[in-house]
Symmetry: C2
Subunit: 192 residues, 2 copies
């Protein structure tokens, strides 16, 4: 997706070989028109499968997911991230370890919003080691719903998450796949 890649090159900031800051259009300030283009591209990538629900994680997954939901008129559920959680029979939960923050969070989705009849597209802003996407997958599988795929805005292809998920058989579509960020230069997979 050229528009997104260009935006990453123009406004993204590779803080080091592992950390990409995209807070001017995705993670803190949001560019709604770019998010709409991202939503359209997700719909295009998954046009051969049917789904009736989008599942994402608060907070940065919400904007791109809501655009998919708007364009297809389907609901969007966002998993709640919490450091501590009062256990409840009404929730599906899973653990996420954040390497960036060096802490474990619980993500929670109310059981009433996922059922075995649902076909779910999972969307998230970043895919790095696959912890967050893995927790979303775990939650959907607990519910018995079907996962039609995982849509990622930016994949750090030099980390293991994408390979782990694809090896498990999940269809992962990433709109921008970063091969490396040496010398603070973002290089995409397939670039020369």
């Amino acid at each position: 997706m050229d528009l997104l890649k260009q935006r990453i090159l123009n406004d993204g900031e590779a803080l080091n070989e592992n950390v990409l800051k995209v807070d001017s259009f995705l993670n803190h300030q949001i560019d709604p028109l770019l998010m709409k283009e991202v939503g359209q591209e997700f719909i295009h990538r998954f046009e051969d499968v049917e789904f009736n629900k989008v599942l994402t994680l608060e907070s940065s997954g919400i904007a791109p997911s809501v655009m998919v939901g708007l364009l297809l008129d389907i609901p969007v559920v966002f998993g709640r991230k919490r450091q501590s959680l009062t256990l409840s029979d009404d929730l599906y939960t899973s653990q996420v370890f954040s390497y960036t923050k060096q802490e474990t969070n619980t993500i929670a989705v109310a059981k009433k919003f996922l059922s075995k009849d649902d076909k779910v597209l999972i969307i998230d802003d970043f895919l790095a080691n696959g912890e967050a996407a893995g927790a979303l997958i775990d939650v959907v599988e607990q519910s018995g719903a079907e996962i039609v795929g995982v849509g990622i805005v930016i994949e750090k292809a030099f980390q293991s998450g994408g390979k782990i998920l694809r090896d498990k058989g999940y269809r992962v579509e990433s709109l921008a796949r970063i091969e490396s960020m040496y010398d603070k230069q973002v290089k995409f997979v397939g670039d020369n």
Copy 2:
């Protein structure tokens, strides 16, 4: 806004006289088309003022705010909520006490996303005691930007936040104003 009020009556859940659960269309599962209507109504309510940026708070304020941003092609900034925060010169911060959770959070907005030339519409999902909106106002005022108004999806008019903000001179437009929730019955301001 009749569509929103009807949805609150149909799908909202007054847990007691103070707590309204709207997790099926706003706080956990999102109805994107309803959010678009909400966004259109905010634009209509504030059509006599100019603004170039929307400021909201993660997570439930993001969906309605992004719709306003999309329809007007302006950026949306969402304040980050944190229990602890490493102080930084790059951030405007303010404190929010949550009565629901009985904890104080810091909200933070990167300085680079608010400047004295900005005209900001603040949007949030709920207005109760005014803590969250007050913190967003505080952050904008620190930046020197102008606040054109505060757009609220659901105001609990029986709590003090709306009066506090209006008494201070802020223009507050709430799309649904709840007068009371006695016996788990939602009654809107102006209803018989």
